[in-house]
């Protein structure tokens, strides 16, 4: 399932619902991304996205993962809009009979989501707001797949 939403969500609760829904798959991996004030002074972030294309891109990335690995299911939830420090930005979850498949597919989803899904983050501090620059290592991460 793919969800793109402004509303906060409960990643632990979503993980439980996901795990309960995938009978037959004993290995469940999740990744959760949280807003953190790493360098100090961050008050919030804003996420812009491209409605329509976002859902398509996430759906294509998920379908690709479902085809490459032996997965019972894969979940992507991603927020947009304004988020405070400590809030959950997004999560992915994968379920498989094999832990290796669940881990690899979750990493794949994250790598593609980072630089192939149309989201743009802006960090808001007391000094103003700056668009987060993309990182060469995120682009490089795609070469693994």
């Amino acid at each position: 399932m793919i969800r793109v939403q402004a509303m906060p969500f409960d990643s632990g609760g979503e993980l439980n619902i996901f795990s309960a829904s995938v009978a037959g798959a004993g290995a469940v991996v999740s990744f959760t991304g949280l807003v953190r004030d790493v360098s100090g002074g961050l008050s919030s972030i804003e996420i812009e996205h491209y409605p329509g294309m976002t859902e398509k891109a996430l759906g294509a990335i998920r379908a690709d993962a479902m085809q490459r690995w032996d997965l019972a299911d894969a979940l992507i939830i991603h927020r947009f809009g304004a988020l405070d420090v400590g809030e959950t930005i997004m999560m992915v979850a994968t379920a498989s009979r094999h832990r290796k498949d669940a881990f690899e597919a979750a990493e794949f989803l994250m790598d593609y989501l980072k630089s192939r899904a149309p989201f743009w983050k802006r960090e808001v501090t007391a000094d103003g707001a700056d668009w987060v620059a993309s990182r060469a290592e995120d682009e490089d991460a795609l070469k693994r797949w």
Binding site: G33, E48, Y50, G52, M53, K56, A57, H78, I89, M90, M110, L113, K114, S115, R116, A117, P118, F119, W120, K121, R122, W131, V132, A133, S134, E139
Partner: protein, 81 residues
Amino acid sequence: MQVLYFAWVRERIGLPREEIETTAETVNDLIAELRTREARYDMAFADTTALRVALDQELSEFDAPLKGVREVAFFPPMTGG
């Protein structure tokens, strides 16, 4: 043709989308045409290596043809996750 701008491209150009009548054959042609319009376009498109383009909501290349395309979007590299 609908042309959409996101993130700092949207900010530099000053609007999120506009309808553009063009005979440009490729994305590069469209960019060349937009740059002649006004300084804000010229500035936004000065360095296309810092830009990405989607045609009808699919990531695409700058030399891709525009024939049949209804929606072009310009934006910086994505920073999801």
